[in-house]
Symmetry: C2
Subunit: 532 residues, 2 copies
């Protein structure tokens, strides 16, 4: 981790990245895939070479100490981590840089920045770790409606304020990054156990605002169910929901803010439900002849009421790409964990479900299985993968993912339609056959959350158009076939076109009306979710 | 069940009720409690004796076949089943009777009734089974704002439209009563397994609109998590959410309608997640020296990640009242069930948790334990209890319940404050010492849902005032001590005063704005949740 500052281009902090060996492994896979010895690689402009537009507004003296107009701060808050974000940053396009980046230290300062920005006619975009892969933190605003753009970085609200061990809950500030949050819980023997892929570079407030998907494959798939109550700073004041284990008093107020993606307010604090540190584990990798037989086993496990912490599957090609298998088999990584009791009975029954569907167990009931074998290889690839894009993009390699969910009755045809539409689009857009792979990230009794990765060899000068053509085809296919445009990556700006087809129009009207009440001048994160 | 019509006064259908032996048992407990040989009992007016106001509007010819202005229909839709409902009905007060009762047979007719009522300046109150215990279905409207009141009874939309066994889900109409819904699922080997106490006389749409609490003590406590998608008829059109196992696309549209209590629209259909019929069960009754030690055992089980289907506790007095114990011990009824695997490992660990907190097991691992012993006695009392109020009220016996939830760290002091405030209020209001007992209906890792019952000997002529004084004191105490005004009985009209203190004002503003969008003339269920 370290305390270096976050990169303005790339994943994580300055000085971090894949090792030479990891880079060689990843590039080797692509050389093999596209039959090339090398790739046409361009240079990414250095920070000192960037030309940013002049800031259009200046913070008042009272806010100056917590605001910055430095090139670094503005550049580091221009983009999230989506594929088009990388391309535009690589091309030195920083037109959408925020004019000012504010770093409030408490709720009063959030409110003060909000009041100032509203008065100045500026848009304000809440910024957690900046790991959005759907254009959720980009400040690109309509210059006729907004006079400027302010990014509100929550990193200084990073405390675990209170821990209630009896109820297993903690009051945590919205700007707390994953590792810092867990480090503060650890002395209490507790853990939030929410580990999205972006864990190191994302925040509690960001997770709640985007309905982040985490560690648990079942039951507690999204952050949603861990939220006991929230505090939200809106342009019309602060609101706080009551801390309750469960309630039936009207539509859930929490659920209006969970997934609100910064358009209704800034999540300053939340009471979160915690877990005990796991003391018992069982893990196994299971091989299946193909994705669909693995999926039938997942369905059996998901409908058995066993609630595994992991039950993820990779199709044969994805297992190969991550180094977890040789390309001839689909892999399931299965795990149970508990802070309370041995989980052998759970694991035994899950393995029976797998055997019923042709699964062959590689290794079972080993407490460390989640760190070893195929599971360990995948786990490592999962954590390191985000570092790849910063060197793949300059090599014109288009590597992206999209995720969805679908009911079991439609899964197989859904998978085939989405995969083939994406494959066709890659070949049409780039002229070269690409690759589309699938895994499951989360599972429900009524359906899986399939996660697709695609790989294409693009052409410098056309990368954005090529990516967009592929993204359009994939998104059209999945919306037409009944999926959701996002299971846990959020809507942001990139998914708007399909979200607009997915959500009922009358719900959008209701959400717009709610926003007008809390944010009458529509200053918060314009472009995201709805047009006010 | 039978096909007799629903009573206009009392629980269930005409001809049903407690047996003489059951009545004798219940009244015996009250004679003992209050040291009386008999109670001053008045007669409830018969249907033919009721004087209802003349209907203020007449449905158009096109709707006449599905509308009624008969005294029976209007009287049977005047009230829900709350204590003040019984008193007012017993006193022959039917001033709030709806002018017209409509029985639409499909969505088009719902919309037609809505359009007509809106045009006529009438309020419209959706009506499921009419089992509301919080004034959720009462049409009492402000005569200056609304020209009349229409009740929309959903009973003719009672079909299970489609069953998807692969995904374990079914599309069910909003007016389906519990038994009919289960009967239609049974041939498919599936069950919704949502069994609120009102199961026989409540509907799917009502459950969703009120966030009904059901069979499962943990995990699937409310109907909320069984909802895969909804269709809602609003005054501005029909909306349908996408059928998805999980999604992260913006704030959940379903969650806006779950708990909306009829103020945003009428739930015409929903895709619901189903369960397999349980094939494996384990059950036990466990005795504890007192409520708090039982509660500590519940906490241990709830935090162990075992997810029992039942883990309910009764304090010593409540166990005595239901005939489950002799008054010297608290009782836990513990059960696991599965359609997939034996649950012995789960039960064994849960019983260890109980033993750790001083629990003595009465009977363990008996598949039929849920029908036998203390569990069986309680189960029977639970199902039959609603029939008691119709003969207790005319005897001036005030018998009511209220339910809430609270985090574990506050539970013990919360319990004592609420219980003593209610006891004091009973004595002040009636001059006679009453009784307040407590059980848990649902449990969460972060806290229980305590359910209080109270018993008072009131006085004819003052019952409403006496009840209100007790209700006020209890509600004030639980809101002040941090609870929710309702865990699964909904807000309705009776809980408004405390709901208004509980929900954030800015959330109410947002909800009001959403309502204005869907129901611009505020015709839907006025008085419930918010004032438009």
């Amino acid at each position: 981790m370290g305390s270096a500052r976050l990169k303005h281009y790339g994943w994580g902090r300055e000085g971090e990245g894949m090792t030479d060996a990891e880079q060689a492994f990843v590039l080797g896979r692509y050389r093999q895939k596209f039959g090339r010895d090398s790739f046409n690689t361009i240079a990414v402009p250095k920070l000192g070479d960037l030309k940013l537009p002049e800031p259009r507004i200046t913070p008042p003296a009272s806010l100056a100490p917590i605001c910055s107009t430095d090139t670094y701060d503005r550049a580091a808050h221009t983009y999230g981590k989506s594929y088009p974000d990388y391309v535009r940053a690589m091309l030195g396009d920083y037109d959408a840089a925020p004019d000012v980046v504010a770093y409030p230290r408490n709720e009063a300062e959030i409110a003060a920045v909000m009041d100032w920005a509203e008065g100045a006619g500026a848009a304000l975009t809440p910024f957690g770790g900046g790991s959005s892969v759907c254009g959720g933190v980009e400040c690109r605003v309509d210059g006729s409606r907004y006079k400027a753009a302010v990014a509100l970085d929550m990193r200084n609200l990073g405390r675990v304020v209170e821990v209630d061990k009896t109820s297993r809950a903690a009051l945590i500030e919205g700007g707390a990054y994953g590792p810092a949050l867990e480090a503060q819980l650890k002395p209490h023997g507790m853990t939030l156990r929410h580990f999205p892929q972006s864990f190191e570079y994302s925040t509690l407030g960001g997770w709640i605002a985007t309905r982040s998907g985490g560690h648990f494959v079942s039951l507690y798939t999204h952050i949603d169910d861990f939220v006991e109550s929230v505090r939200v700073v809106t342009p019309r004041g602060v609101l706080e929901t009551r801390r309750l284990p469960g309630s039936g008093a009207g539509p859930s107020p929490d659920r209006m803010f969970i997934g609100s993606e910064g358009i209704l307010g800034v999540i300053s604090q939340a009471w979160m439900r915690l877990q005990a540190q796991p003391r018992f584990r069982a893990g196994a990798s299971v091989r299946f002849p193909d994705l669909f037989s693995a999926a039938r086993a997942v369905r059996a496990v998901a409908q058995a009421g066993l609630y595994p912490s992991n039950c993820r599957i990779l199709d044969p090609q994805e297992a190969f790409n991550t180094g977890a298998a040789n390309g001839s088999v689909a892999i399931m990584v299965l795990a149970f964990e508990s802070g309370d009791h041995p989980v052998d009975a759970w694991m035994a029954r899950a393995l029976e479900c797998c055997a019923d569907h042709g699964g062959a167990t590689e290794k079972a009931n080993a407490a460390e299985a989640h760190r070893e074998g195929a599971a360990g290889l995948w786990r490592n690839a999962f954590i390191r993968m985000p570092y790849a894009r910063e060197f793949l993009t300059p090599a014109a390699l288009i590597n992206d993912t999209f995720e969805t969910s679908i009911t079991w009755d439609r899964f197989e045809s859904f998978h085939d339609k989405v995969k083939s539409a994406t494959e066709r689009a890659i070949e049409t857009a780039t002229g070269i056959k690409g690759e589309v792979t699938c895994r499951f990230t989360h599972v429900y009794p009524d359906g899986p959350a399939p996660y697709f990765s695609f790989h294409a060899l693009g052409r410098h000068g056309a990368l954005l158009e090529q990516w967009q053509a592929i993204k359009d085809a994939a998104s059209d296919a999945l919306i037409e076939a009944g999926g959701t445009i996002t299971h846990h990556h959020a809507v942001g700006r990139d998914h708007r076109k399909w979200y607009d087809r997915q959500r009922p129009e009358l719900f959008a009207a209701a959400l717009r009306a709610a926003k007008r009440e809390l944010d009458p001048l529509a200053m918060l994160n314009p472009g995201v979710l709805i047009d006010p």
